[in-house]
C-alpha cells in the first residue's frame, strides 16, 4: 500500500502548489482573540527566474477579458474591394499600423489590434481594455491620418511650418536598397500634384532638412540634397532594414490607402463587468455545493472522494488559467462551470461500474476493473466533446470559422476543463480511492 500513498502525497503537493498560484495575490488575515491580535497581509511574490539566458517572469494574475474588466471592442472594415491582392494586404497592414500607433497614444495597458479577413472583407479588430469613453476612442482611431511635409522655419520664424503637401499627394512608400551603398532606403512615389509640390519644396529647402510629420509627430527629417522633380524620391540614412520598413509603413499609413468605417463596437463599463464576475462566482459556488452534496448523497464515501477530486480539479484548472494565461470572459466562466458539472462524469461512470463489479469479484479487483472498463467510454465520449471544442476554439485561425470573441473563450475553458477532468477523474480519484477506501470499511 505504499505506492498509492506516495502518489497521493504527490497529488497533495501538486494541489498545494496550484493552490498557491490560484489564490489571490494578497490575502489580509485579521484575527482577534482577546489580547492576541494577528494582523498580517499574506503576499505572494511574483515568479522571477533567471537561468543564464532563459528568464521567466510571471505575476500569476487572472487575466480578465473586456466583458469582465470593462473596455471597448471595435471592429473597422477597410474598403479594399477595388484593390488587387498585393495592394490589399499592403493597405490592410498600413491601416493596422496607423491604428496601432494611435491606440498606443491612449496609454492603454495591453491594447490589441488584429486583422481578420473573410470572403473578401478586411476587418481590423481593436480591443481597448479599460476604455469606456468610446466616443474619444472611435474618434481618434477613425480619423483620417494626416501626413504632412513641413519646412524648418527661418531665424525670424522658428519652429516647423506645415506645407500643403500631405499624404494625399503620396502614392506609395517602399523599401529598396541603394545601388551604390547597398543600404536600405525608403522610396517615395508621388502622384502628379504631389510631385509638383514636392519639386517646389525641395527647390526652396535645398540643403535643409524636410520634416515629415504624421499626426503632428515628426517621423523623419531627411536632408534635401538636390531639387527633385519627376515625382519620386528616396530617403536614405543610417537606418537598419527594420527601421526603413517601419518608416515605409508609417508613410503608407499616413497616406491611409483606403478609408475605414466602424461596423461593430461593444463597450462594457467596468461596473457591469465586476457585477458579472460577482454573479458568476456566486452562481458557481451554489452550483458547486449542489454537485458536492449530490455526489455524497448518491455515492456516500466514494462520493466524498469524488468531491475531493472535484475540488482539486477546480484548483488545478484555475492555476492553469493563470499560468497560460487564459483570457477569462463571461462565456469562458460558463465553460468552466460546465466543465465542473462534467468533471464528475468520469467518477460517476467508474462508480456505477464499481457497483456492478463488486458483486462479482473481490473489492480491490472490482475497483481496478471498473477503472479499466470505464476508461473506454470516458475516452471516446470526451474526444467527441473535444472535437467540437476544437472547431469552436479554432486554434489554427481558419478564416472561415469564428476567430475571436465569446465563442472562443467558451471553447478554450471547456476543453481545458475536459483535459484536467480526465486527469483528476482518473489519476487523482483512483489513487485517493486506492489509498483511502478499504473493503471492510465499505462492508463488502
Amino acid at each position: 500500500m505504499t505506492t498509492p500513498l506516495k502518489k497521493v502525497l504527490i497529488i497533495v503537493l501538486l494541489t498545494l502548489l496550484c493552490l498557491y498560484i490560484s489564490l489571490p495575490k494578497s490575502i489580509p488575515v485579521n484575527l482577534n482573540f482577546g489580547p492576541i491580535n494577528f494582523n498580517h497581509r499574506f503576499e505572494r511574490s511574483d515568479l522571477n527566474l533567471t537561468l543564464g539566458k532563459f528568464s521567466l517572469k510571471r505575476n500569476f494574475d487572472l487575466v480578465l477579458g473586456l466583458d469582465l474588466a470593462g473596455g471597448s471592442h471595435l471592429v473597422f472594415e477597410a474598403q479594399t474591394q477595388d484593390l488587387d491582392q498585393v495592394d490589399r494586404e499592403k493597405a490592410v497592414n498600413s491601416v493596422r499600423a496607423v491604428i496601432e500607433r494611435r491606440v498606443n497614444l491612449f496609454g492603454v495597458s495591453e491594447p490589441n489590434v488584429a486583422v481578420s479577413s473573410f470572403e473578401g472583407k478586411d476587418r481590423i479588430i481593436v480591443e481597448l481594455p479599460g476604455i469606456d469613453d468610446t466616443q474619444e476612442a472611435i474618434g481618434l482611431i477613425g480619423k483620417t491620418a494626416q501626413l504632412v511635409f513641413a519646412e524648418i522655419g527661418s531665424e525670424e520664424v522658428p519652429g516647423v511650418t506645415k506645407t500643403s503637401l500631405t499624404g494625399a499627394g503620396l502614392k506609395s512608400a517602399d523599401v529598396t536598397f541603394d545601388q551604390t551603398t547597398g543600404k536600405p532606403v525608403v522610396l517615395l512615389e508621388f502622384n502628379q500634384e504631389g510631385g509638383e509640390l514636392f519639386a517646389q519644396l525641395t527647390e526652396k529647402n535645398l540643403g535643409k532638412p524636410l520634416p515629415i510629420m504624421l499626426d503632428d509627430e515628426i517621423i523623419s527629417a531627411p536632408l534635401v540634397q538636390q531639387t527633385i522633380t519627376g515625382g519620386s524620391a528616396q530617403i536614405s540614412g543610417e537606418f537598419t532594414l527594420q527601421e526603413a520598413q517601419n518608416l515605409a509603413i508609417q508613410l503608407n499609413a499616413g497616406a491611409l490607402p483606403v478609408p475605414i468605417s466602424l461596423i461593430e463596437q461593444r463597450t462594457v463599463g467596468a461596473t457591469l463587468g465586476a457585477d458579472s464576475v460577482a454573479k458568476s462566482v456566486y452562481a458557481g459556488l451554489i452550483g458547486l455545493s449542489m454537485v458536492l452534496l449530490f455526489m455524497v448523497l448518491a455515492y456516500g464515501k466514494l462520493g466524498l472522494i469524488a468531491d475531493f477530486a472535484l475540488i482539486i480539479f477546480g484548483i488545478l484548472t484555475l492555476s492553469i488559467y493563470k499560468l497560460i494565461p487564459v483570457v477569462l470572459t463571461l462565456p469562458g466562466i460558463a465553460g468552466f462551470l460546465l466543465s465542473v458539472g462534467m468533471a464528475v462524469d468520469a467518477n460517476i461512470l467508474i462508480f456505477e461500474r464499481f457497483k456492478e463489479e463488486k458483486l462479482q469479484r473481490p473489492f480491490s479487483d472490482a475497483l481496478e476493473v471498473s477503472f479499466g472498463r470505464a476508461w473506454d467510454s470516458i475516452r471516446d465520449a470526451n474526444i467527441a466533446t473535444l472535437v467540437t471544442a476544437f472547431v469552436l476554439a479554432n486554434p489554427l485561425d481558419f478564416s472561415f470559422l469564428h476567430t475571436s470573441g465569446p465563442v472562443r473563450g467558451f471553447a478554450i475553458t471547456l476543453s481545458l476543463g475536459i483535459f484536467v477532468s480526465l486527469f483528476t477523474g482518473i489519476v487523482v480519484s483512483r489513487n485517493l480511492l486506492r489509498a483511502f477506501i478499504k473493503p471492510k470499511a465499505h462492508g463488502k
Binding site: Q135, T271, A381, P406
Partner: protein, 307 residues
C-alpha cells in the same frame, strides 16, 4: 475473465426493464416536441439577437426607477427610433435600437438625463448590418465541420455505419429540439438567438454524442462477450447506463440551473440553451439513438431474410 460470463446484474433501480418495448412512446414524445418546434419556427421564426440582426443596445443604470413608455416616447420625440426598452431590475434598463451613431447616442443620453437625474452607462454595443450574414455563414461551416468530424469519429470507433448514423440522427434530434424550443421561447419569453446560442448549439452536438457513446460502448462491450440478440443487449445497456446518465446530467443541470437563476442577464439564455441541450442529449441517447439502432438492425435482418 471467468466471471464475465455471468450476466452482469444491473443497478438496483431498473432491473431488467424492457425499455425498447415502448419505442413508439419515445418517438411520440420526440415527435411532439420537434413538431411544436417546427410549428413555432414556421409561424414565428427565430428572434435574432444583436449579433445577427445588427443594431444598437444601450444599458444604463439610473438613480431611480423610470417608466419605459415615457423614456421611449421622449427618445422618439428626439427623432430616434427605439425598438424596445427592457427593465433588468436594480434600476437598470436595456434599450434596443436600430444601429445609431455616437451623435445619436449623445442625444439619447441628453433626453434620458431629463428623465432621471443620474445615469451610468453600463454597456454600449453597435453591430452593423454586414456582420450578421457573415456570422451565419461561419456558424453553418462550424456545424458542418463539427458534425462530419463527430460522424467520422463514431463510425471509426464502432466500425459501423449503423452506429455512426444513428448517433448522428440523435444529434440532429437534439439540435432540432433546441432550435425549435428556442423559437418558442423567443416568441413567448423573448429569448434571442445570438453568438452564445450558436455556441450552446454546438456544445449540444457534442453532449448528445457524448452520452450516446457511453450507451453504445456498453452494447459493444456485451457484444464481445455474449451472443444475445441486439434488442436484449441494447435493453441491458440502457439499464446499465441509466443511473449514470441521470446522475451525470444532474450534476451538469445543477451548474446550469445556478447560472440560469443567478448568473445575470447576459448568460441567462445561454444557460437555458445549454440546459435544453443537456436534457435533450440525455433523453436522446437511450430513447432515440438506441431504438433507431435496433430498428435499423431489424430492418436489415428482414431484408436479408427475404433474399
Amino acid at each position: 475473465m471467468l466471471s464475465s460470463i455471468n450476466p452482469v446484474s444491473s443497478s438496483v433501480l431498473f432491473i431488467n426493464m424492457n425499455w425498447l418495448r415502448y419505442k413508439k412512446i419515445y418517438f411520440l414524445i420526440s415527435g411532439i416536441v420537434i413538431g411544436l418546434g417546427i410549428y413555432s419556427l414556421l409561424s414565428w421564426g427565430l428572434r435574432l439577437g444583436l449579433d445577427f440582426r445588427g443594431g444598437t443596445i444601450l444599458e444604463y443604470r439610473f438613480g431611480k426607477e423610470i417608466s419605459a413608455d415615457i423614456a421611449k416616447k421622449a427618445i422618439e420625440d428626439a427623432g430616434i427610433e427605439v425598438s424596445s426598452i427592457q427593465s433588468l431590475g436594480d434600476n437598470t434598463y436595456l434599450f434596443k435600437l436600430p444601429p445609431v451613431e455616437v451623435s445619436d447616442k449623445n442625444k439619447i443620453e441628453n433626453v434620458l438625463s431629463r428623465i432621471s437625474e443620474t445615469q451610468e452607462e453600463l454597456r454600449y454595443e453597435t453591430v452593423g448590418p454586414s456582420v450578421g450574414p457573415e456570422l451565419v455563414k461561419k456558424t453553418i461551416y462550424a456545424i458542418i465541420i463539427a458534425s462530419v468530424a463527430i460522424l467520422i469519429w463514431v463510425a471509426i470507433q464502432f466500425k459501423s455505419i449503423k452506429f455512426g448514423t444513428s448517433a448522428i440522427f440523435a444529434m440532429f434530434h437534439d439540435s432540432f429540439v433546441l432550435i425549435g424550443l428556442f423559437s418558442f421561447l423567443g416568441h413567448f419569453a423573448g429569448a434571442e438567438v445570438d453568438f452564445l446560442f450558436v455556441t450552446a448549439l454546438l456544445t449540444t452536438l457534442s453532449f448528445s454524442v457524448h452520452d450516446t457513446i457511453v450507451v453504445y460502448d456498453r452494447i459493444r462491450e456485451s457484444q464481445k462477450i455474449s451472443d444475445g440478440d441486439l434488442v436484449g443487449l441494447a435493453n441491458r445497456a440502457i439499464t446499465e447506463t441509466m443511473s449514470r446518465s441521470l446522475n451525470n446530467s444532474f450534476t451538469i443541470i445543477f451548474m446550469l440551473f445556478a447560472l440560469m437563476l443567478l448568473g445575470g442577464a447576459t448568460i441567462k439564455w445561454f444557460a437555458v440553451a445549454l440546459f435544453i441541450g443537456t436534457v435533450s442529449g440525455t433523453y436522446s441517447s437511450p430513447f432515440v439513438a438506441v431504438p433507431l439502432l435496433v430498428i435499423w438492425d431489424q430492418l436489415a435482418d428482414k431484408i436479408k431474410n427475404r433474399k
